[in-house]
């Protein structure tokens, strides 16, 4: 099958799922190991959540309700990083039960902050934190895509509410959700921020997908790339700039500083 045919099939399937006449699409929301901040953002939708609930049927959501129906689900949102074997098994079974599966937030989409921890270092730290006798449950902090096919990624640490609403709206109108075709820089300019890179402060804005409204830079913090790499990100060009503005250019300290930026959210992402 050509890519175009696959696209067409996905689209027709989606239209069928999301625009069913008689019943609303069945939605499940799951969380794995994480901070649950993205689900807090769902609650922060407030009145909008009520509006959304008129068009979708949340049949399984541990944080929000006791009601717990089994699959199949039309849409499943998964927040968090699968760290334990049980979580890995769970997402595999959710994949089988779900027609359209979405990663919610950077832990699910990129591995996020928990993925700063290298697999090879886990044993050492488990011993230090829990003691010699402790039997660890975690294997490695990786994004969902390390184990299952994920249909769409809603990035962010935490997610931006508007991106979640947009994704659901697009699904409800039978469209395959699309990624932002521009970088954080675009929104950063709109927000009127001075450019960090011109001011010789490191920033991953140019290679990071937009959609966040440059919220971190607005607040005075750098962009660490939690919205994931944008399509055709020119990492080499950014590395050249970062090399020039970190001190001393090309030196060990400079390399370490650049590595810190790339390891905050993107440590387990194939760059």
């Amino acid at each position: 099958m050509s890519a175009k045919t696959v696209q067409f099939l996905i689209l027709t399937r989606l239209i069928k799922i999301m625009t069913k006449k008689n019943s609303n699409p069945r939605v499940a929301i799951y969380d794995l190991t994480d901070c649950e901040g993205c689900e807090v953002k769902i609650v922060s939708l407030r009145e909008k959540l009520l509006v959304l609930e008129k068009r979708i049927d949340i049949v399984d959501w541990r944080l929000g309700q006791e009601r717990k129906e089994d699959g199949p689900f039309d849409v499943t949102l998964i927040e968090g990083a699968p760290i334990t074997q049980e979580e890995i098994d769970l997402i595999k079974s959710l994949r089988e039960k779900s027609k359209f599966l979405i990663g919610l937030g950077s832990c699910a989409t990129l591995g996020g902050i928990p993925a700063i921890m290298e697999k090879s270092e886990r044993e050492k730290w488990c011993k230090k934190i829990y003691g010699e006798k402790y039997k660890p449950r975690g294997i490695d902090a990786l994004p969902l895509s390390a184990y299952i096919h994920v249909d769409f990624l809603i990035h962010g640490c935490p997610i931006e509410e508007s991106e979640l609403v947009r994704t659901v709206e697009e699904l409800l109108s039978g469209k395959k959700p699309s990624y932002r075709g521009y970088s954080v820089c675009f929104e950063c300019k709109q927000a009127g921020n001075p450019c960090r890179l011109i001011d010789e402060k490191p920033c991953l804005g140019p290679i990071t997908q937009g959609g966040c409204g440059a919220v971190c830079i607005n607040g005075g913090s750098p962009c660490y790339g939690c919205f994931g790499l944008r399509e055709d990100a020119n990492i080499d060009a950014l590395l050249k700039i970062l090399n020039n503005i970190t001190d001393p250019p090309g030196g060990e300290a400079s390399k370490k500083e650049i590595e810190r930026y790339f390891s905050m959210f993107l440590n387990k992402v194939n760059k």
Binding site: D31, L32, T33, D34, C35, E36, G37, C38, E39, V40, K41, V43, S44, R46, L49, L50, E53, W61, R62, L63, G64, Q65, E66, R67, K68, A81, I83, T84, E86, D89, L90, G112, I113, P114, I116, M117, E121, R122, K124, W125, C126, K128, I129, Y130, K133, Y134, K135, R137, G138, A141, C157, P158, V215, C216, N218, G219, G220, S221, R260, M264
Partner: protein, 399 residues
């Protein structure tokens, strides 16, 4: 697996031994090993990384980390910075309490499942809940830059401070919602909670001290220095949990709203400190308290020049610091050691829920012993409600 207590933050379930009358709280969260993640990162990054321990109380972690780093670097933040941070804490308390009370607890008592079902059932209460959620989100948004995981805070001060016009808008919103905070107390005082009597220690931070009282005698206060937190809050590893369990000075101790009211004195007559279910009344009372405190702070800020530029570190800092704060669920402790280059070489974090876990088990055992004529199914529901009353944050506990 996949059978977790609903409507609590994180993944846990109960293992009930009906014959022995014992309850164990299994915690399944994967280990994220934050204390390891922090080592090798810079001092500045600590307050960026630790909020990700918990999305319900990220601001508390952010502030505790800043506090720890500033102590390590010998920085005393300006009065304006302290005021702005106190305002963030007010917002954090209301955000967390309102989420817990209306979205996780209330459904148990009024016969609904999901909180949004409150909208048709009691539109006025639902509107109040949303308006409190909105105004508390707004506080943290305006001062911290984002409602979850702050962006404006930094070591020694703020990258950016709120404008006066933003604060004026906030003040108006706060005044409009004060009544909703008052009504929240009425709702949660009006609930008939399950009966339970437990002899627990209740502890809260005050200045440089941890103050502890007994649930049966809140007048007698025991004091210990926060700098001795590691000695007094002893952590223990249990094979059924990825979170540690701790006791304060060897005793099961409850921390959080109920403990703060016990320690700081509450005039509310309806509260019974021996009944952990009453933590929900305490959270409602605190919602109004922090709401009023937020109004006071904003009024103060509007009268002064708001400059919270970051203060530089002292010339010969100790490079070791402890940061503490009262998070929504109780006393939070962050400790950090830095290298000469301000890289983190050691980190230790004790969260409120780690302290509460042992007291949850003790209270659950008491509930099993004291409740008569209930089926196992009813008893399980009651125990789940008890866990929920504590508002455990399991993500925090298994950081």
């Amino acid at each position: 697996m996949n059978n977790f207590i609903a409507k609590i933050e994180g993944h846990g379930n109960l293992n009930i031994d009906w014959d022995a009358g014992e309850v164990k709280l299994n915690i399944f969260e994967g280990e994220r090993l934050f204390e390891g993640i922090l080592v090798g990162r810079t001092a500045e990054e600590m307050a960026w990384i630790t909020p990700r321990i918990c999305g319900v109380c990220p601001t508390a972690h952010n502030l505790a980390s800043l506090n720890a780093i500033e102590n390590a670097l010998g920085i005393k933040p300006s009065k304006t910075t302290v005021l702005l941070r106190d305002l963030m804490q007010c917002g954090q308390m209301i955000q967390s309490h309102v989420l817990h009370l209306f979205f996780l607890v209330l459904p148990d008592y009024i016969g609904i499942d999901r909180a949004t079902e409150l909208a048709p059932k009691n539109p006025a209460a639902f509107k109040d809940a949303l308006s409190l959620k909105e105004v508390s989100d707004k506080i943290v948004q305006i001062v911290g830059g984002r409602i979850v995981h702050p962006t404006t805070t930094t070591i020694g001060g703020f990258h950016k401070v709120p404008t006066k016009s933003a604060l004026k808008v906030l003040l108006k919103k706060l005044k409009e919602t004060e009544d909703a905070a008052r009504k929240t107390i009425q709702i949660f005082e009006g609930i008939e909670y399950p009966e339970l009597k437990v002899d627990l220690k209740l502890a809260a931070q005050e200045g440089e001290y941890i103050i502890a009282v007994s649930s049966t005698d809140i007048e007698k206060k025991d004091k210990s220095l926060i700098t001795d937190y590691k000695k007094n809050i002893e952590e223990e590893v249990r094979e059924y949990s990825t979170a540690k369990f701790s006791k304060y000075k060897g005793e099961e101790t409850l921390v959080g709203s109920l403990a703060r009211l016990a320690v700081f004195g509450s005039s509310a007559s309806k509260i019974d400190f021996t009944n952990p279910f009453h933590n929900n009344i305490a959270q409602a009372i605190e919602t109004l308290y922090y709401h009023q405190k937020a109004i006071e702070i904003v009024e103060k800020l509007l009268e002064m020049k708001i400059n919270a530029e970051a203060i530089k570190q002292s010339s010969n800092p100790s490079l070791k610091g402890i940061g503490s704060t009262e998070a929504p669920r109780g006393g939070l402790y962050h400790e950090v050691h830095l290298s000469q280059d301000n890289d983190i070489i050691y980190a230790n974090i004790i969260t409120p829920t780690v302290q509460n876990l042992t007291s949850i088990e003790k209270s659950a055992k008491a509930l099993l012993g004291q409740t008569k004529n209930k089926s196992r199914e009813e008893m399980e529901k009651l125990l789940t409600m008890l866990v929920r009353a504590y508002d455990p944050c399991i993500s925090c506990s298994a950081h």
